[in-house]
Symmetry: C2
Subunit: 233 residues, 2 copies
Amino acid sequence: MARKPANTTSSAGGKSARTRQRILDAAAHVLSRKGFAGTRLTDVAEVAELQAPAIYYHFPSREELIEEVMWSGIANMTDHVQQQLDALPPETGPLDRIEVAVESHLRYQLETSDYTTAAIRNAGQLPDNMRARYEAEANRYGDVWRRLFDAAKREGALRPDLDARAARMLVLGALNWAAEWWNPRRGTLDQVIRTAKSLVRAGLAVPEAVEAEPMRKPQRSRARKPAKTASNR
Amino acid sequence: MARKPANTTSSAGGKSARTRQRILDAAAHVLSRKGFAGTRLTDVAEVAELQAPAIYYHFPSREELIEEVMWSGIANMTDHVQQQLDALPPETGPLDRIEVAVESHLRYQLETSDYTTAAIRNAGQLPDNMRARYEAEANRYGDVWRRLFDAAKREGALRPDLDARAARMLVLGALNWAAEWWNPRRGTLDQVIRTAKSLVRAGLAVPEAVEAEPMRKPQRSRARKPAKTASNR
DNA sequence: GTCTATATGGAGATAGAC
DNA sequence: GTCTATCTCCATATAGAC
């Protein structure tokens, strides 16, 4: 995951590694607030409590530093959400799984991590030469959600008038945007999560299934052309 | 709305006014893609097909140019959506009104205007001294939506487990985010709009009202403490 | 009104001391 | 490993020709 500085004699938790982490944290903080072009190394250095040239001991360039922040922001989100999904009992219904993803995403984004906010806010502003690595990881996260929606569709849990891709992206947008407006002083995170889950479930589910969805196993043979939706990234 | 250049002898549709507009359009284009700090006047000039110093004949500074793009992006959106709402028959139900706002917002944002995308993407990155005018206008737009949701709540059209403010911001987020992913080559705008309307209506409505809401008049006296939600900005 | 030429300052990056 | 000093480049902004 992490590139190590040239001097590899120090142990994994040594001073160098800790300084490097401090620089990454500071960069995520600045990046999430000032944007890609507005992120200056002097500001990063100030937050990390060192002088700007010291950053070059740990990172070869400003761009590499920023790229690592962006990449790890979305990569950690992917791992976190997937981990929560993997921990569910196998018989969990598709809408319940989506609710878990909604909660995991919001919690991670709003509670844990400047990285994710930095990634989400700046994805559209990256110069072309920095996009590749980030987009590969962003697609991995998109795939997590695509699988959730495909499963729901396959089991007939999605209302048929919904376009699966549009619905998925609209839901993700609602979650991503929360970083722009949520303020702990204006309402608890739990309140936001509860509303988001309710909104998403009711928005997606066929009316009969809203109230209480039976916890049934995925029924693969009920699918009509599963390959079709799989290509719909 | 628009500041005029020093030379006011030219008519409203004169060459100066047209050049000024070209600069604004170019700035919106660059701003929506490169972000606030990444917007360079040479890039704006290139898109507008003139030399960078010529911009200073029409705008006193880079900041004033950007501020005007941001401000007019959100101001035009507000006017557009409000206008669509005002054109509805007075007996239109609150969820139907919300659907109209959803469609107006998406159409304007995705079809018409780099300005709105520029405003939405860069709102979080504005330096403090540029925020005031933009935020005043953004609040005006927020008020349009707040009134829609307050009306829906007052008439009992919103599910009671939803937090009105959180639900409103989640819906707006879903719409705002569409600019990040929608691509006309991946699906029609109409398809996105149809899905968004369906998702929002089903997500908000009390189950009984999903299918076909009676077009009834607002019933003010049914409200419980209307002042409560009004202060919930 | 728009151009060319240029003053000014700020940011990334490097050299080399400690 | 982190610092101070410095190089270089580039963007805003101005001066002044046309």
